[in-house]
Symmetry: C2
């Protein structure tokens, strides 16, 4: 899917693309400023479910990224909408930091919702969720990411624990964040554009580039964050372009 | 695979068949005595990897089951043999109670070995194993069981955490215990019989009955332990017989 015309909006993944932990990718702060000066609408899509939107925005601003809360679309907020829409009473196995944003677990649950609980994934918390799933409750996962990059190395993401519970319970999770088509479609709807008018910049071949590709959005893969050698030679998932980093992606876009 | 002649040896799963936690299945102690009096050689095959053989035997004896250590074949001991044979230097993510039996983790590992660590499956211990797997080390799992029955309910077994790590690392584990063909074959070799001359009694449709069936050993499924409604109507895995419990299995066998 090579780009033929300049896109009308840019969807941008956060962790691994703009920053790693609390460190901006070199040149990314200036590159975002350059991209903004082009006037293209931006939308930031994140599967990070360890922090509420307010903290994500605050951390980005501390690093120098000027981002407004309403430009961010998170898997946490998308999950909250889905839970409200379906009138579910979830048991939440999530990070304590997002409880204020997602709400407390229901004392008499009828669903299990998983976010990236990080160190709060314990045998006890997983076994409790497993027993609820064995009652036949629906299983909703905010994301299914395999891992992400921290400053000291790659780290297990929520997908590991989604698979853990799926295997033992026999219940398949419904994923809310990337690569779910509804997650990308929701961003397009709010921007009022079609998929081929947008472009996505991400570091996750499968969930960013593959997910966007499945709904018709071309993707630019950056070689930062969780990018690993060979990601640029996948038989099915074909980025429009593979570039060194976010600044290179911005240059490529503005040259279109 | 209906039985045509009386078997020449009986392979028996332990947890869920003879006992649940530290409680014998009603009538199982007497039934084992009856089975022994028939003179048939017995072999007990267990994927339980939370306890060393000595404690498994002691717990069974406390419940009244007369079982000798050399009649038990465990996934822990089979793993130790495999590690020795291949001269591996594993990092062990296992229950501390089996460290004396399996050995300590190597400070410079070249393999990852998983047993049922139970509450010792933490985010930190799993993430450490994940990072080793991302170096391309081979992944050996003592078992891949989905869950087992404790007195207070079903409990996540090691298979959940095998799948957790497989998903995120992309490395597929080699399973040592049931349903691995080598595990059943090893029991047959020591008994000096062919698969069709043995019979297995188990509560796990997939790992006991399915595993035995794959090497040609007929299986009797008991409706105790982890048995769940529908296990007796699986399209591919067909027990020779499905009976209420271990005493009923012994009656069936001795009537052949």
């Amino acid at each position: 899917m090579p780009l033929t015309t300049r896109p009308q909006a840019v969807l941008i993944d956060l962790a691994g693309v703009l920053h790693i932990d609390d460190q901006p990718i070199p040149g990314a702060v200036g590159a975002l400023r350059t991209l903004r000066s082009s006037g293209l609408p931006l939308r930031f899509l994140t599967n990070t479910t360890r922090s509420p939107t307010s903290r994500i925005v605050a951390t980005l601003r501390q690093m120098g990224f000027a981002i407004e809360p309403d430009e961010i679309q998170t898997a946490v907020i998308a999950t909250r909408h889905l839970v409200e829409q379906r009138k579910l009473r979830p048991h939440y196995l999530v990070h304590p930091d997002i409880v204020d944003e997602i709400g407390p677990s229901h004392p008499e649950p009828d669903a299990v919702v998983l976010g990236d609980a990080g160190p709060h994934f314990t045998f006890a918390s997983l076994n409790h969720a497993f027993r609820l799933l064995m009652r036949g409750y629906p299983f909703i996962a905010m994301a299914r990411n395999r891992y992400f990059k921290e400053s000291d190395g790659l780290t297990l993401d929520v997908g590991a624990f989604v698979n853990c519970l799926e295997f033992s319970s026999g219940v398949t999770a419904e994923v809310v964040g990337k690569p779910a088509a509804t997650f990308f479609q929701s961003a397009l709807d709010q921007l009022g554009i079609g998929p081929e008018q947008a472009i996505l910049i991400g570091d996750d071949l499968s969930d960013d580039i593959g997910g966007a590709q499945a709904v018709g959005i071309p993707g630019i893969l950056v070689r930062t964050g969780k990018f690993r050698a060979g990601d640029d030679a996948h038989p099915q998932i074909r980025p429009s372009n593979v570039v060194a980093d976010f600044p290179a992606a911005v240059n490529y876009l503005l040259d279109c």
